[in-house]
């Protein structure tokens, strides 16, 4: 059983997305990146991100990740902030430590693409 299935598939993404979005909106380190006029569009992107992080079905490639974050001058601090907010979200949803670690690993695997290094 994949991690995505273990934590409840699309339902888990739905449960996590609003909690996660609230956290990044109030995190001064990264809120500017997420504070767009089109909250629905931003939320859709986050659902796609969470699906990928949870190991669910997605079309993301390293190239997409690179393109999507190009020119944003992201640093290690920004990346860590997103990861911390994700971990806090998962803890709030009582996801087990093992699974959280696996999800963090997925995030770390795309770190270079996100930071465009």
């Amino acid at each position: 059983m994949s991690i995505y299935e273990q934590i409840g598939g699309a339902g888990a993404v739905d449960a996590a997305v609003d909690i996660f979005y609230r956290k990044v909106l109030v995190d001064d380190r990264i809120s500017d990146f997420f504070d767009t006029v089109d909250m629905d569009g931003q939320r859709a992107k986050q659902k796609a991100f969470l699906t990928m992080a949870f190991g669910g079905p997605n079309d993301y490639t390293g190239k997409d990740m690179r393109e999507a974050h190009k020119g944003m001058n992201l640093t290690e601090e920004h990346f860590n902030a997103v990861a911390e907010n994700l971990v806090a979200t998962l803890k709030e949803l009582n996801v087990s430590e093992d699974i959280i670690n696996s999800i963090v690993e997925v995030c770390l695997s795309v770190k270079d693409d996100v930071l465009n290094v």
Partner: protein, 321 residues
């Protein structure tokens, strides 16, 4: 193989392809992302067809009510007609049957037309000179025998000045639409509604509130109207009557400058931030200018309202090309 009709074109699907894949294969540009039913980028609207549950999971009740679905999740088993999520552009004739001034800057226009709509949706109105603008509907379908609009007059507004000066009872318009998902849908469990309006954002809001009350909404409905000065409000008597007749409806007015004891003098954003800190489980409706909607949507979301329980419509000012 079942066929798909999209706008002017109709074509057959192949094997087990989804609606999204079939449209893309035929050269239609449809936004898409995860292709797995998660990101909701590929929403379309289906006409008169039963959709599988996974095609609408995660959508708001009002999106479901207009037939919105995730096109990456549907492999058609019968012929299907779809349109872009912006809604169908159907044209209807409309005739002006009433013009009444509501205050110094806002006029109420009532039209006769056979269009079907939900209270809170919007339409585009076009006059003889081909001037076209979008306005929210203030009336309630099935109850009111007319379509009602609240139109603000702008000094250089071509359409609003035409409505004020040249248009008269009997003038004909072309109406296109309706569009929009900012409308009332009944809730399974009683829930509280918070309605936020600025300016003529009261138009759709008044319709949505009456619609909710007519559908016997269980739970409280509270309306907050924001304005710059105490002279900017209209429809106060109508709202007072509505709250006298319905114990679950209340309203308040908030203005930056108030000379009236009934009107709270405050900044609307501060007022909502300090007095509405727990909106978990609420349904929130927000109608007004772009900035008003943007700021309050964020505030209400941070106060605990779910994104899919926030319904909004921003009024964009018309900029000539």
């Amino acid at each position: 193989m079942p066929s798909i009709t999209f706008g002017e074109s109709t074509f057959d699907t192949q094997d087990d392809e989804t609606v999204l894949d079939a449209l893309l294969r035929n050269g239609h540009e449809i936004a898409n992302g995860c292709r797995a039913g998660v990101c909701q980028s590929c929403l379309l609207i289906a006409k008169e067809v039963a959709l599988p549950a996974n095609a609408t999971s995660g959508l708001s009740d009002s999106q479901k009510a207009i037939g919105a679905f995730k096109s990456c999740c549907v492999v058609p088993s019968t012929d299907i007609e779809v349109q872009s999520a912006d809604g169908a552009i159907e044209s209807h004739k409309a005739t002006i049957v009433e013009k009444t001034s509501l205050n110094d800057a806002v006029i109420r226009v009532r039209l006769q037309s056979d269009v079907n709509y939900r209270a809170g949706q919007y339409v585009s109105l076009q006059n003889d000179a081909k001037l076209m603008r979008s306005y929210s509907i203030a009336s309630v379908s099935g109850t009111d025998k007319y379509l009602e609009f609240h139109i603000r007059r702008y000094p250089n507004g071509q359409f609003s000045n035409w409505i004020y000066s040249a248009a008269s009872i009997g003038s004909e318009l072309i109406l296109q639409g309706p569009s929009g998902t900012c409308f009332y849908t009944p809730t399974d469990a009683p829930s509280n509604l918070l309605m936020l309006a600025s300016g003529t954002g009261l138009a759709p809001m008044h319709g949505i509130i009456r619609d909710a009350l007519l559908q016997q909404h269980q739970g409280n409905i509270h309306l907050i109207i924001a304005a710059k000065t105490s002279d900017d409000f209209y429809y106060v008597d109508e709202l007072k009557t509505l709250s006298d007749e319905n114990s679950n409806f209340s309203f308040e007015r908030v203005a930056l400058q108030s000379t009236d004891a009934d009107i709270k003098q405050a900044d609307i954003y501060e007022h909502i931030r300090s007095d509405y800190t727990q909106l978990k489980g609420y349904r929130v409706y927000i109608c007004g200018g772009e900035n008003f909607v943007k700021k309050l949507k964020k505030q209400c979301f941070l106060a605990g309202a779910n994104m899919q329980d926030i319904f909004s419509d921003s009024f964009l000012s018309f900029t000539p090309n």
